[in-house]
Amino acid sequence: KATVSRTSFSRSPFRCSTLMKIDINFSGGLEFLFDNKKDYSVDLPDQETITFPDFLGWIQKNILKERPELFVIDGTVRPGILVLINEVDWELEGNLKYTIQDGDSIVFISTLHGG
């Protein structure tokens, strides 16, 4: 079973007791950029709106371990990464315009090309 880490969201110096629990999953080889862990369960404060670009920034700052250019390019995920929001293609949820909700499951999949 993949190890699950719980990390607090701490962009601002203000602390809040209400938190949003978000599950994040990396696959297709993306996990190699994230300490070789596929599953993360993290707490984000829910006192403010967390846009998808905010969320990507948080991931880069807090759990991305190496080579950020293989994850985000020009403010969005690099070509070849499919994002799923609650098991559905993020394009159907507005992609970068989506606002993170409590309990969301966000999956980042690097598409494979081997055969």
């Binding site: 696959s27 080889g29 070509p79 394009e91 690097s110 598409t111 055969g115």
Partner: protein, 281 residues
């Protein structure tokens, strides 16, 4: 005559009996399979089971395109080949195996890389395309060619302990560029030679590619269009996710109409990765 398509000869009726008695398949669908033709791009880890199960099921005409020879490191997963065929062309090895398994099937070998010089000419001869290649340049060319010719493409991939499967350009469904307008940066692409692959992973995905191809040829069941099947061998878990529909502004199947010059660049493999298209999983 509306029943002419049901015409199966006695040899076919004897041989495909287990399909004929299935209410979901039956004589009409089997006859469509027997009258159908498929181009399989790559005779490697995915191509091996694809070719075996398409041939076994009696697809009328099967084309195989691959420019590689059988290597010792292929045999842990490329089960259509065998030691006697080491260092000989994969297309010949695979064609031999198919002829042994089902002499009712016509096999056509194309010993070349699937590239811009031959993609259209090869693909237009077949009803359906199956992508078993191992690199983004071939995958984008296969999808774009399918869109240009109005063909459906069954596409799978496998690296390490994971696999993915979807169907492109099926009855108005998305193409690869609807999902990913441009190929990934070269340095993000893992291949089986460098990263390794657990043998049964391309095996499982290849059998499922054959299964989708037979459903499409036979016109039965629901096809994995606008859906992506993800497989993780370490937990033997499958996940099926819903994908976007065709994108109106797609550079290939949408308003772009494949006219952008950028598209051609995507068919060029980087010089540093001169891996043959079927040396993959």
């Amino acid at each position: 005559c509306p029943f002419s398509e049901h015409a199966l000869n006695n040899a076919q009726i004897r041989r495909y009996g287990r399909h004929l008695i299935l209410p979901q398949i039956g004589a009409a669908a089997q006859a469509r399979i027997c009258a159908g033709s498929v181009l399989v791009i790559g005779a490697g880890g995915l191509g091996s089971p694809v070719l075996q199960y398409l041939a076994a099921a009696g697809v009328g005409r099967i084309g195989i395109v691959d420019d590689d020879v059988v290597d010792e490191t292929n045999l842990h997963r490329q089960v259509i080949h065998s030691e006697a065929w080491l260092n000989r062309p994969k297309v010949d090895s695979a064609a031999h195996a198919i002829s042994q398994l089902n002499s009712l099937v016509t096999v056509e070998t194309h010993r070349c890389r699937f590239d811009v010089t031959n993609a259209t000419k090869l693909s237009e001869q077949y009803d359906l395309m199956v992508d078993c290649s191992d690199n983004p340049a071939t995958r984008y060319l296969a999808s774009d060619t399918a869109v240009r010719l109005g063909k459906t493409l069954v596409s799978a991939a496998a690296v390490g302990t994971e696999g993915q499967l979807t169907v492109y350009n099926f009855r108005g469904g998305p193409c690869i560029r609807c999902l990913f307008p441009r190929p990934p940066p070269h340095q993000t692409v893992r291949n089986c030679s460098d990263s390794g692959v657990f043998g049964p992973v391309p095996g499982a995905l290849g059998v499922l590619q054959a299964l989708e191809a037979l459903k499409i040829l036979g016109d039965f069941g629901e096809v994995l269009s606008e859906k992506l099947l993800l497989f993780d061998a370490m937990t033997c878990s499958f996940r099926c996710v819903r994908l976007r529909a065709r994108m109106p502004d797609c550079a290939m199947c949408g308003s772009g109409r494949g006219e952008s010059a950028e598209i051609q660049e995507d068919y060029i493999s980087p010089p540093c990765s001169i891996t043959a298209q079927s040396s993959g999983p």
